[in-house]
């Protein structure tokens, strides 16, 4: 496969829909999702692979869409936060107040979606390893931990109330 022109057509499978777009070869997957498809749930936070706000699932695996070219996602199954509807993770985030400003939330949720699919019985070490890929600046993470535990059916330490 070779592509000689800077703007090229690409077919992506996003949230179970097949979508066509003309993109720049230099466009990241995040650029394509937001600008071509209007899927603004994936957030630009750093465009450097550091904050995780743009995390989506590629073939079930969390990926930071800011450090992946749109072309690299061709032929793969992409799920963004818009592709979830009432998932247990979303519900747990609401019930545990696991967000405030909400900007990092889609990235966290997608990462956790990937986590529970791969490790339905994840222990603390695994949860930490995965969730350390994302930054939340509003919450204390304690709320996010409670949400993950709720989804995994674990108990969290009771706060003093």
């Amino acid at each position: 496969m070779s592509m000689k022109y800077n703007r090229i057509p690409v077919t992506l499978k996003v949230n179970r829909q097949t979508k066509n777009a003309d993109i720049r070869t230099a466009d990241t997957l995040l650029d394509v999702l937001r600008e071509n498809f209007g899927l603004t749930g994936s957030k630009p936070g750093c465009l450097n692979g550091d904050c995780g706000s743009c995390t989506v699932l590629i073939d079930g695996c969390p990926m930071k869409s800011c450090i992946m070219l749109g072309l690299e996602a061709a032929g793969r199954e992409i799920v963004t936060v818009e592709g979830l509807r009432g998932s247990p993770v979303q519900r747990a985030f609401i019930e545990n107040n696991a967000f405030q400003c909400g900007y990092c939330t889609p990235g966290f949720i997608m990462n956790i979606e990937g986590l529970i699919r791969k490790h339905p019985d994840a222990d603390d070490a695994v949860i930490e390893e995965w969730l350390q890929s994302n930054i939340c600046r509003c919450t204390s993470y304690q709320e996010i931990k409670a949400a993950v535990y709720a989804v995994l059916g674990k108990e969290t330490r009771e706060d003093h109330k």
Binding site: N6, N48, K64, L69
Partner: protein
């Protein structure tokens, strides 16, 4: 947003990749080989690298090989650090590579990319240096296999059209006792103050370090002194610090003095792990 445009090629064979390189080079398209791409994308956004075309090697099946030949564990350069972390055939590599960047990024970063990258740490090379691994290199004259020490001196030293296809590691090395640790300034996700990896083969300790100096290294001089069992460990450690191959990094992450202090502590931890309490 990357400001400049480039062409994108995804060859299917080693030869095609190298041919693309020459074709693009001749046409002034400033080609680069592209593996995980995380570093190229992030540096391109800041114009820290500029290229006219990328050759994405992930379409080449040879780069995806993971498994054993008769004597060797073969690891294709497109294998992600996450996959290596989970395939525990080479635990030293799993653990050392498993501390680069963060988990989600490691899903994208490849072993080839980490070792060939511009960021100075290249921690995933340490296990291969210790294991005297060999690398399969693709280039104009076909493929060749060479010891990694021949092509890694501070960084990967290859002709511009050459690139690493696979890493070959002798099976007998994989299960040796080892020690690996990444010391950071404070944070769990950060560049290293230093990453130290070691294995023990035939009572001889091999040590490789990243982050302490401006490049990763394995040093014969340091191994000689560290294995000199006629000296107390403290003295060996002290002398090892004096024999570093380059000045200790002195930057905004940490001062050289503090890095030296951490290095000494880490060597002691390594001794404890590999030698127990023996003198």
């Amino acid at each position: 947003m990357i400001g400049f445009d480039f062409e994108y090629y995804r060859p299917k064979t080693l030869a095609e990749a190298v041919n693309f390189y020459h074709m693009l080079k001749e046409r002034g398209k400033r080609p680069v080989y592209y593996s995980g791409g995380t570093e190229l994308i992030t540096m391109a956004r800041l114009n820290q690298v500029i290229f006219g075309s990328v050759i994405d090697i992930k379409g080449i099946p040879d780069t995806w090989i993971y498994g054993y030949s008769e004597q060797d564990l073969i690891i294709g350069s497109s294998i992600s650090l996450t996959d290596l972390e989970e395939d525990r055939d080479f635990p030293l590599l799993s653990q050392t590579a498993g501390r680069v960047a963060d988990r989600t990024s490691r899903n994208k970063i490849t072993i080839g990319g980490n070792i060939c990258g511009k960021i100075i740490y290249r921690e995933a090379v340490l296990p291969f240096l210790l294991a005297d691994s060999r690398v399969l290199i693709a280039g104009r004259n076909g493929s060749r296999i060479v010891p990694i020490s021949n092509i890694f001196e501070q960084e990967v030293q290859l002709a511009e059209d050459e690139w690493i296809v696979q890493f070959l590691t002798d099976r007998s090395i994989l299960s040796l006792p080892f020690f690996t640790v990444k010391k950071r300034k404070l944070d769990v996700i950060d560049y290293p103050l230093l990453t130290l990896a070691a294995i023990k083969k035939d009572e001889h300790i091999r040590v490789a370090v990243s982050g302490l100096c401006a490049f990763p290294f394995r040093s014969e001089a340091i191994e000689t002194i560290l294995n000199n069992r006629s000296m107390p460990k403290e003295l060996r450690i002290k002398e090892a610090v004096d024999r570093l191959p380059a000045p200790v990094l002195n930057d905004w992450i940490a001062s050289a003095e503090y890095r030296r202090f951490v290095f000494q502590n880490t060597l002691m931890e390594m001794f404890t792990a590999l030698e127990g309490d023996e003198k």
